[in-house]
Structure formats: C-alpha cells, structure tokens
Amino acid sequence: MSFFSKPVKTNDTDDEVQLNNYRKSGDVAVLGKLFEQYVSLIYGVCLKYLKDEEDAKDAVMGIFEELIIKVKQHEIKQFRSWVYVLSRNHCLMKLRAGKRVEEISLDEVMEFTPFAHPEESNREEAMKALERCMEKLNPAQKQSIDLFYLKEKCYKEIADITGFTLNDVKSYIQNGKRNLKICLERSSG
C-alpha cells in the first residue's frame, strides 16, 4: 500500500538552501534560479485560472516580483507549496476584478499530503480498515480506485476497461480517494 506515501521527492532542503542564499545576498539571480525550476508549473497554474497565454506569462512575472519581496517577509517551510499558494492567490487576485474569490492566507501553508503514514505495527489494522472503507464506496468509485491504485492503471486504461469517460474516471478517483480518507480518519479516531 504505497499510495498514501508522498511520491514527490523532497527537494525542499535544496530550496531552503537557495532561499537562504537569496535572503543573505539579496541577489535576484539566485531567486531566479530557484524560480525557474517552478516556472512551468506556475505557468500551468496561471493558465488554468487565467485561461490566456499572455496573461499567464505576465502573471508568472508578477509572481516573481511578488516573490522577491515576500520571500524576505515570510518564513517559508515548504517552498513548493508556498509558491503554489502564492501563485494561486496571485491569479485569483487578477480574476477578482469581476467577483470576489476566497483567498488562502499565505501563512497557513498548505499541506498537500496530510495522510499519516501507517506505522508498521498498525499496518495489518490499517489494511483491514482500508478494505472496510473500500466496501463503502459506490461501485464506480470502488472500481476506479481499485484499478488505479491497486492495478496501477492510468486514467486512459481505466476509461477503456470500464467504459467511463476520462473525466468521469478522474472524478471517481478523486472523490473515492477523499471518501476513503474521511472513512479512515473516522475509524482511526
């Protein structure tokens, strides 16, 4: 059961070193190097929210400018998640012209994978709980989760096997995962 583990390798220590270098030297180039690693992701996020390539590019540059100032003001534990929230907020601010959108406070750094890694001793127990919870899912979610996490199929394959559309598969897996998480937390708590 590896799907609750965090698949993203933590380069956070690298990030932190570079952030500290920037804080000390004030050299924008250092920050630029760090930022460059995230540019494509940030650009993707901006594209998602702004839906316009030029706007997205401007937003990325705007985020960098914001970063230059804010890196010095905030204590950053996880640069990756922090810069994500910063980017999202930046885009939402831009969209705000028409309507108000909720903004996430930068200081409440979001944890992406809050799942506790099951300890070895509890593993058996956790497995049982997981199976119990899997049974509670609706059939479509259960089938998708099963195919995705246990059989390790990709969305496309699952769609081919089950006959669901790709988007359906996606939402089944997302919702199923959320339901599982809620169920597990309840049973453990």
Binding site: K6, E53, M61, C154
Partner: protein, 441 residues
Amino acid sequence: MDRADDITQIRKYLNGELNARAMHELERRALDDPFLADAIEGFENASGDQGTNLADLTDRLNQRTEKKVRKIIPWIPLSAAASILIVLGAGIWFFTNRSDKAELKRAVAQDVVVKKKEAPTASNSDIAADTLKVEKAKVMAQASEPKAKVARGAKINLKATVQADEKEELKESPPALSEVAVAKASAPAAVDQSANADKADKAYEYKYLSSKKDSLGANDMLVSDISKKKSINATTVKHKGLPSTPTLLQSRVDGVSVTPDDNHTVTGTVTGNDGLPLTGATVKVQGRNFGVVTDANGKFTLQDVPKGQTLSVNYIGFSGKKVKADQDSMRISLDPNNTSLAEVVVTKEAENTVQNAHPRDGWKSYNDYLDKNAQSPDGKTGKEKVSFIVAPDGSLSQFKVVKSLSDDADKKAVSLISTGPAWVGNADGKAKEVTVTVKFH
C-alpha cells in the same frame, strides 16, 4: 522525479506519448499534489504547444534577474557623467545669462529714452526739492562715456533727450538721494548712463543711502517705473551683484525712490446743477474697468489716475458727463435728465359674474331646488323657460314665459321661482332680467 522534468512529462502526457505506467505515475502524483494537478489542468485547457511560451518566460525571467546586475555596474561612470553634465550646464547657464543681461541693459536703455520722449513733462509735480539741470546729468554721462561699454546706443539717445529736456526742472527725492537719483527721476536714460559710469569709473560716486547702486538695478527700476506708472517712495536700493531674473528686478523696484511723474490721485465732488451733492454717482476712468462711487457728501477719490485721463461721471436722473482729470481736486456738476419714465397704469376688469343678479345660495343649489320640485303637473315633460326681473333688493317681478310646455307647467314654473329661494340683485343697483329654465319630469 526531478522537477525540471515535470514539464516534459506533462507535455508528453498530454500528447499521449507516455506509456500507461508513466501516465499512471503522473496521475498519481497529481492526485497528491494540487500544484501539479492545477498545472496539468492549465496546460490541458490551453490548446497548442506551450513550449514557445515557456521559453519566452524563461527569457523574461533571465532578463529580469540579469538587469539588476547590469544596473549596478554603470553607476559610477553614470554619476561621473552626470556631475560633468551638471558642471557644464551650470557654466553655460552662467555665461548665457551674463550676455542676456548685457542685452537687456541695452534694450532697457533704449526703451527708457523712447518713453522719455513720449512723456517729457515728468517733473512738473509739486515736490519741493533741490533742482538740478539736466545739463549736469549730461556732463556726467559725457564724462563716463569713454568707459561705459554696454549702453552705447542708449548714450547717444540720451544726449538728444537731455538736450530736449534741458530747461526742465528736476526734482530730487527725499534725503540721501543723490544726483543720480535726481537724474533718474527726471531723465531716466541719464541714470542709466551715470550708472554705467559708476561701474566703469569708481571715482565718480553717488549714494543711495549707504549702498552702491547697481546699474542694471537702476535700469530695471526705471523700466518698472515707467511701465507701471506708479510712484515709488522708498529710497534704498541694495547692491546685490547682478540681478538676473525679472522677479528679482521687480523686488528691487519696491525699494527705489522715484518721484511720481504723471500719475496722481484725483479727488472731487459730484453735485447736481443746484449745487447739492449727489450720493452714489459712479466715477469711472475711461478705458479702465474700475470706478468708484461718491459718498454721502458726493465726494470721491481715485488713485493713480494718469494726467489728462477722462473721467466719466454718471448718476440716475442726470445726464452723464465726461471730464478731463486735469486737476487734483475737481468739482463736477451734473445736469438733470428731463426724460421721465412713462407712467404705468394697472387696470383690472370687474368680475361681472359676481356682480350680476343671482340666487342668494348660488346657482348650483338653485338648480338643485328646481330639479327637485319640477314635478310635471299634467304629465307633460320637457323644458320650460321663464324670464323675470330681479330688483336690486332681490325681489322678483314681471314673470314671462319664454318657452311654454303647457299652461299648467307655466303656472307651476312661475310659482316655483316666485316662492323659491331668495335672490340677490345686481351689485350696480339696477334691475336685471334673468331667464331660468325649468326641466319638468
């Protein structure tokens, strides 16, 4: 997986170039990582290859980070260049300013001469002072001529002017004013000359109180003096290097003493032809858009009126008068204007309706009465018209049937009217014939 690979993975994923295993890997990561998920969604929604946009972004980012580095380097040469520019600029300004001043001086001198020619009667005011022949100024000017360099053109003009004004008496302003001041007051060009002389020749001294007069200052004073037509009373001029801007010049003007030449204050009284003062008459200097109003004693005071100006005096009911302001104290009498306003007659037409004979309680209640009681005596229905005379006292007589319905109806109608509500006679006291219609039903 390295972050730099994210975008290639995403692109391959979206292009369907990844195998099922790698697709699964990315999808799973996206599920755990909203950052990645959002980015994939963004790229997914945007049509086309974002590679060029990303390259562009990287460029921009590099430019942004490099710019700071470049900015730091040229600071020292930049500041050096800036300081050189400043010094050069200051030098150029200084020199051009100086030559400007010389030009100004020349122009002023000429201007002064011209003005002087126009108004040669400058000094006939009544200030008691030492007199000085212009000749003296002329001598001074000639003495200084060889050394005066700037206002050469003016000097020539000056000689002519001075000769023209030779016989004129010049007045000298209060206490410590020097010969130069005198010359200036009467023949401004001369001052310019002597001022230049001063500059050139220290041996010739004149005083403005304790300070030395600046030649250009003097010029400007004169210019202002003439152009403003204003009398200036103080006597001090401070020596403060070369004045350079008009503002500076103007500030000096206030300190110069020059006796008033052709401006003066005019006072006077406005009266009617009977000699009684007119209060509230307007006195206006022609060609200017201001004026004063006479007080309760018909007196007025107008300041700074140029000699020879025409005053226009007006008062309601009197014909206006135009008078030359050639005296300081004037007596202006106005002749009454005999055109009178046409009479206005307000008339109102009398209201006949009220004055004529009518039922005492009004026509409406009278008609109601008739309506109510007009029961046909013989079954015939229709209109019956009866006329009668209403006497001034309200009594009714001489009933006549104008339109008959039947004999019975005639009698009934007459009795209805004669025994009905009271009437009021005509207000003018005459008997009035009234016709009433009775509708039988």
